[in-house]
């Protein structure tokens, strides 16, 4: 069985790759496209470390087939900063020390960005429930939630 050719857009760049039918988008990103900023914590949808945007929706890339990216737009952590300008969330995560080991961070940033795109004035509870699919074992979520709320406040006043 030959591999499937896929034409897609990743972080705004037209991208082509070949993949197996059973290969996940996560494996394609990490193993074929060298976009290893997207992490694998479980491979079964439980941890959110592999979060990416697919046509504007937040998804776990470990539960998407690479072949499904055909004709779609994928956004990963590598596309979050604009050149050397960090996204406000990235800045706030650093300022608030919202990461310890940092392995969950790309997933949280992508998920938080998706939240702020739909709701720039979330409550603490809304932030917590929106991010409930992103596991962090280091921080107890405290500084992550604060960083997201603070970013939202800053973006609202901008």
């Amino acid at each position: 069985m030959s591999q499937i050719p896929v034409t897609t857009t990743i972080n705004g760049d037209a991208t082509e790759f070949l993949c197996e039918a059973d290969e996940t988008l996560l494996d394609v990103l990490r193993d074929r496209l060298e976009l290893s900023g997207t992490k694998e914590g479980c491979g079964t949808g439980d941890c959110g470390a592999c979060s990416v945007m697919l046509d504007g929706r937040l998804v776990c890339s470990c539960l998407v087939l690479g072949a499904e990216a055909e004709g779609r737009e994928v956004e990963t952590i590598e596309g979050m900063a604009e050149g050397d300008t960090l996204h406000p969330l990235q800045k706030k995560f650093l300022e608030h020390a919202a990461l310890q080991c940092g392995v969950c961070t790309p997933g949280f940033l992508i998920a938080a960005k998706a939240l702020l795109e739909t709701n720039l004035d979330p409550t603490e509870t809304e932030v917590r429930y929106w991010l409930a699919g992103n596991l962090c074992r280091c921080t107890g979520y405290d500084k992550i939630v604060r960083a997201v709320l603070d970013t939202a406040a800053e973006m609202r006043s901008a």
Binding site: G37, E78, A97, C101, A132, L135
Partner: protein, 754 residues
């Protein structure tokens, strides 16, 4: 700058105690940072491990021939590829890395393959034929201690008892600590409470699975990239297991996605190296989450009897605990630490703890944050709480009355120096949290905790660049912002801006032995080494200035980032900055560097008090954590944000342990919940903000007063939450996790008067 916690500081620093952005921060928010699984090599193979589906089975034969014949398979290894090592401390590790005559737990590695792709490797595993003879198994600690229990190791004789037993058992060792006469103490008591507690095994639950990339050449030289808490430990263990010379194996630590103690030993690294050596190609081996749960090192499960006696005035007269911890299939459960820490918070005349280290058919435990201590504190602090209620004393006052303080002979031997337990208790008494009202079905719990903190072998090197910037090489992986703390300490000591210092994690060839990032040792020990290396560099900087000024080196002092003449007698020279001196280093004697090699001693012990409010749904047994405050002594908080982070992370892990996390084994001895859906660590919506109060009672053993902070924070939560739940539900809870079925049952039994 965010500044949420409260800090009681005494001493003035310029940089230490501020909250700059960590030096590795940008890499970690942009996806550039490379973790264990993020490395590749040309010609790399993919490896997978075949694991035993049985809890206890004799491995009669392993036939790998069909796998070897599969095109694309480049190497297969089994027990035959691992000779038992000479180093005795590696024998169990060797057996754990690859099963030998028996598979000792569900998930025990039996064979491994390296192939050109993951699918080929997967198919190869299917083609390996293992013949097992299934043996009876035991996974519960109390069952394993029974005389008729299935025996794991026929040569295991309990150590630490006299005379040495003649019969094999599952008890590897007995420990005993204490002083005074507990029996007499109990006769002096007005009230005695005696209870038995049980805790389930939990997993560290780091989000990054173990991963490594190994490469061994035909010249016997090897390179290994892996996520670990200690790459020197990995090097020495792997070299020992593979019969390599330590200098021939270079290990580079990747960024590490959490460890909490779980990455302080080797699992897959020796296997990857063995495969690479056999295949002659680089081999990448990454664990799945299922493998992480089944075959790494969860913590112990335990069963503990506690007996404490008090007088009506609140004075404890005697305290005793018998602790039974199973630590999986090999000796080495953390019961020793459990027995040592159990009563460390109290000033006791009569105290005794006995610990049993028990083996069962479960994966060999690894350290988990203050290993052994939270389980013991759960039992002891629950009984303390009950006693406080019985004598109608506020639980904080009761603890204060009996608290260990400077000069107390600890229950495990040493006499305490200046310690912060009382300070955490006093602080919690006056905190708004303690004064806030509670609603119906709500309860408040408090508990204290203790951890030793470690020091240990440490080697760092600090190099000053010609442009006046500083590069610090340390040998301990940065798990939670330690690079930032090292930069702060080096900059503080040298008197240069924080941004001028860069800290890197050097590989094993670059520095001398550094102990694992564990025991909350890094900010203490590596921090001390950093300060000493900076001091050594300062001596050299002063010497260079002296040379330039042509005065005696003794006549130069280092102040405020500058070399200055020591006084009027020394002459008048314009002070030279570090950058000034560095710029001309080439003409004054060459590069300037400072080193420190030491076995760090004097890690100050640390204490914490936690306070938590919960609400229990009386109809479903569901617990909601409403409010949480951590009061802990940090000695000196170098970077307060990361200290708070340690407090919060420990508390959150404690919440999981107390309420929902547990290893669930079926009748068949197989793990039933090897995934994050059913091994329930707290998610963001399960927790409130976790407030922190950092107390700073300087550790005399560190130049800046630092004490380790990483572990103490997980010691009190199990008990604090149990006390809160017991108060809210109106029933004392003695078994973890306090999952909804358990809580509901207790409430219904109480209602029905059972």
């Amino acid at each position: 700058m965010p500044d949420q916690g409260q800090i009681a500081t005494k001493r003035k620093f310029k940089l230490v105690g501020t909250r700059p952005v960590r030096p590795d921060g940008v890499d970690k928010v942009t996806g550039r940072a490379r973790f264990g699984a993020d490395m590749t090599a040309p010609g790399m193979l993919h490896a997978l491990i075949l694991r035993s589906p049985h809890a206890h089975a004799r491995i009669k034969s392993i036939d790998t021939s069909r796998a070897e014949r599969l095109p694309g398979v480049k190497a297969v290894v089994t027990r035959d590829d691992f000779a038992l090592p000479e180093r005795r401390d590696l024998v169990d590790i060797c057996y754990n890395v690859m099963a030998r005559e028996k598979a000792l737990y569900d998930g025990h590695a039996v064979a491994a393959v390296a192939a050109v792709s993951k699918p080929v490797a997967r198919e190869a595993l299917r083609r390996i034929k293992v013949v097992y003879e299934i043996l009876p198994h035991v996974t519960d600690v109390d069952e394993a201690m029974k005389p008729n229990a299935p025996i794991l190791h026929k040569d295991m004789r309990t150590k630490g008892i006299d005379p040495k037993p003649s019969k094999a058992s599952n008890v590897a060792r007995q420990w005993e600590f204490g002083h005074g006469d507990v029996d007499r103490g109990f006769t002096e008591a007005d009230i005695v409470v005696e209870r038995t507690f049980k805790t389930a095994a939990t997993h560290q639950g780091y989000i990054e699975p173990h991963a490594c990339l190994a490469s061994v050449g035909s010249d016997g030289q090897g390179d290994l990239w892996c996520c670990t808490q200690g790459h020197y430990m990995v090097r020495n263990a792997c070299a020992g297991l593979l019969g390599m010379k330590v200098s021939q194996l270079r290990v580079t630590a990747s960024e590490i996605g959490g460890g909490f103690g779980g990455k302080t030993t080797v699992f897959i690294e020796p296997v990857a190296l063995a495969l690479s050596r056999k295949a002659g190609r680089p081999v990448k081996l990454v664990m799945s989450r299922n493998e992480v749960f089944r075959a790494t090192g969860p913590t112990a499960s335990s069963s503990t009897d506690v007996k404490i006696g008090v007088k009506k005035n609140g004075q404890i007269t005697a305290a005793k605990a018998v602790l039974r911890y199973q630590g999986g299939a090999f000796a080495g459960s953390p019961v020793q630490f459990g027995a040592m820490t159990a009563f460390a918070c109290y000033d006791l005349k009569n105290v005794q703890t006995i610990g049993y280290d028990v083996v069962t058919n479960r994966p060999k435990q690894a350290a988990y944050r203050a290993p052994g201590a939270p389980l013991a504190a759960f039992a002891i602090e629950s009984v303390i709480d009950e006693l406080a209620t019985k004598i109608r004393m506020d639980p904080l006052e009761f603890r204060l009355l009996n608290a260990a303080r400077e000069g107390t002979k600890s229950s495990y031997g040493p006499t305490f120096g200046p310690i912060g337990l009382e300070a955490t208790l006093e602080e919690s008494k006056g905190h708004p949290h303690h004064l806030a009202p509670l609603g119906p079905n709500q309860g408040r719990g408090v508990a204290c905790g203790f951890w030793f903190n470690f020091g240990g072998n440490t080697c760092v090197s600090l190099n000053i660049g010609e442009d006046g910037t500083v590069c610090l090489s340390v040998g301990n992986p940065d798990i939670g912002g330690s690079r930032a703390s090292m930069c702060l300490m080096a900059a503080e000591e040298l008197g240069v801006p924080y941004e001028r210092v860069r800290t890197i994690i050097a590989d094993t060839a670059a520095l001398g032995y550094n102990e694992v990032t564990d025991g909350s040792r890094v900010t203490f020990a590596v921090g001390m080494a950093t300060i000493k290396a900076a001091q050594a560099a300062k001596v050299k900087l002063c010497e260079r200035a002296a040379k330039i000024w042509d005065i005696s080196p003794e006549a130069v002092v280092w102040e405020d980032g500058h070399a200055r003449p020591a006084g009027a007698n020394a002459g008048t020279f314009k002070p030279m900055s570090l950058a000034d001196i560095a710029a001309v280093a080439g003409s004054t004697g060459g590069p300037i560097a400072g080193h420190s090699e030491a076995n760090a001693d004097g890690a100050g012990v640390s204490f914490a008090t936690h306070m938590v409010d919960v609400e229990v749904d009386p109809e479903t047994g569901r617990v909601t954590v409403l409010r949480y405050t951590v009061f802990q002594d940090a000695g000196k908080a170098i970077h307060p944000s990361y200290v708070e982070g340690q407090f919060q992370g420990g508390a959150a892990q404690g919440v999981g342990w107390a309420l929902n996390e547990e290893y669930i084994y079926g009748e068949d001895g197989r793990l039933q919940n090897a995934g994050f859906l059913d091994y329930r660590i707290p998610v963001a919506s399960d927790l409130p903000f976790i407030d922190t109060v950092i107390l700073e009672i300087p550790n005399p053993g560190h130049p800046y007063g630092v004490r380790g902070v990483g572990e103490t924070s997980i010691v009190p939560p199990l008990a604090a939450i149990a006390n809160a739940v017991s108060a809210a539900a109106g029933v004392r809870h003695t078994q973890l996790p306090m999952s909804p079925p358990r809580i509901l049952k207790s409430i219904m039994e109480k209602r029905d008067g059972v």
